[in-house]
Amino acid sequence: MNVNLQIVGCSHHQSNVSVREKLAFTPQQVAPFLKAYYDQFPQSEAVLLSTCNRTEFYVAGKEPSLLPSQDEMISLLAAERGLKIGDIEQGLFSYRDREAIRHLFFVTASLDSMVIGETQILAQVKQAYQLAVESNQSIPLTHHVFQSAIRVARRVSNETDLHSTRVSVPSVAIGVLAKQIFERLDNKKILILGAGDMAEETLRYVVDEGGRDVVVINRTTATAEKLAAKFNGRVVPWSDLQRALVAADLIISTTGATEPVVTSALFEVVERARGEKPLFILDLAVPRDFESEIGDRTNVYLYTLDDLQRECERNMQSRKSHLAKAELILEQETDSFLVDAARRSSGATIAQLKLQADEVKEVELKRLMNKLDLTPAQRQEIEYSFNRLVNKILHPPLKSLQEDTGESHHGLLDALKRLFQLGD
């Protein structure tokens, strides 16, 4: 199976956000684009991967002649997004064959991501492949490449610690710290102060970890209701803040207040009513919502944005230390994929060559046997000799073909076909 893979695309490495947003596709826009592509190049296969950090257009075919040129790929992208080629050309990259496969493996394993080791990209690659299948049921070449990329990404994840550390503030706060304090979150009272983006993102992690009893307090009730509705939470008026603080096990505070919302004096009253129940406070607001003295109390664990960002930076450094091992795996897997593809592509030719040699051998054997009067043992000995002769003649060219997995492989295969007059 010949895999001629070609990519044209843009990513956060080469293009700024103004180019990326022009080329971004929603999942609903992918199908019309692929349909337009297949109208022009029906004998090839295509996958479009579009995330906020990249848009990559993959095409594959059995022969290079069946694929569009890089210029044609760029003009297809530009036409679909209503752009001029000149507007986007500078910010695009392109890869072919080995480099293209290597690039896909690196992207899927999240080594090409803006936040190295983030896990979202694997799901996005799977979704891109799924959308491609919905547009064309028969894509054996891209199936093989993308399934290999997904398998390799899992291998990197299993064999390195690249994905084990968290690098965003909410994921560190909930995925690392909350788990050190609470065994489970489903029976905990979670209080959200403020209803902005940070509150929503953190709440998403809380819910993922099992948190259910969510109370939102915000000075603007409408915003609080909107956030609470997304997570089946309740809204409590701002006037009930003290009561909510008494009941809470975990507080996530993200208000935009310019002065501390919870002062030491207020918390002293709250603490008396809490009965020294442990409390985990995530003060993600700038300026801070909780006075820092509150964190000195025995059963209060107060973490600010600065505390969490330090941890995120440490984790990012830790991820980088695992890069070398991940890169080695990806390079090995790229080579292994190419060797496998070469074997698959030469398999049919080798079988054809052996069949052709066997036919010649059988004809000559039959002719010889008809002329000679031989005992069964002598006939058998001659048959063995003919078999050995054919095998010895074919062995060197076949060995060379199997061992050559480099760029000259296709040339060698073509030469063999022409020399022995083998059909496609």
Binding site: S164, I181, R184, G275, E276, K277, T298, D307, E311
Partner: protein, 286 residues
Amino acid sequence: MDSLNKISITCFAASYFVALILELSRLLTKAEPFASPWRRALKIGFVSAGLFAHSVYLVLHGGVSLNVQGIWLGNWFTWCLATSWLLGAAYLWMAIRKHESGVGLFLLPLMLVLIWIGLQFGNANQFTASNARTAWNMIHGASLLLGTAMVTLGCTFGIVYLIQAKRLKQKTISSGAFRLPSLEWLQQSSERSLLVSTILMGMGLISGIAINQVPGDGQMGVGVIAWSNPVIWTSGVLFLWLLVATLFNLFYRPARQGRKVAYLVMASFLFLVLELAIVWWVGHAT
């Protein structure tokens, strides 16, 4: 059977020591060959092997006998080894259920220390109680043994709680850092061990009084041990402490929270050590 007879203290002590090294390796590196799944499997393997050898040794050499009447302990040496075995079983359960709990770092040294203390006593000086195998004797010995293990376990949870709370306060916990169980789990485990140890110690005390009061077919009977004997009143004080601590914990809400539970179980352990020292000093049960 011959090969089982050859099992020595070195066999299981060495297994526990290797498990301890594996626990310590978590502090140093997450890299191969001590990556999590391998280390966990090795740890469970070594502790299981150690517990098997430990069990065989206790039965064949330690003076522990199992029969239709129950379980019997031979002497102080067996007492220490049996307590160590119970802690080992608790550790194995945690290693299987609570992956990478880190409690082994505290339990395994305790187990090794108990084995060492047992060796200092020597495998002699049989408990005279073994000559009077009544149901009361069995309940007395077994409940005090289990109670001792539970108090020790509770103390371990308390210490780990304080360490974990300190790490969280000082903000030294990171994703790649050595992991300990959550504060909530440690608090609940401390509370449970306090409750169970109170019940067991209570059973031990009541059965001890029964042995002292009810005439048996051996040497024990009414007034064998005087009520003024330090063993009697220190046992009473220990039980009273555990009872008050448990009731305090059950009915006074702030006592259930955080560090107070840890302090209660640690104080209980100190009481227990004092009690055992007095029991040994006056030669009770030998």
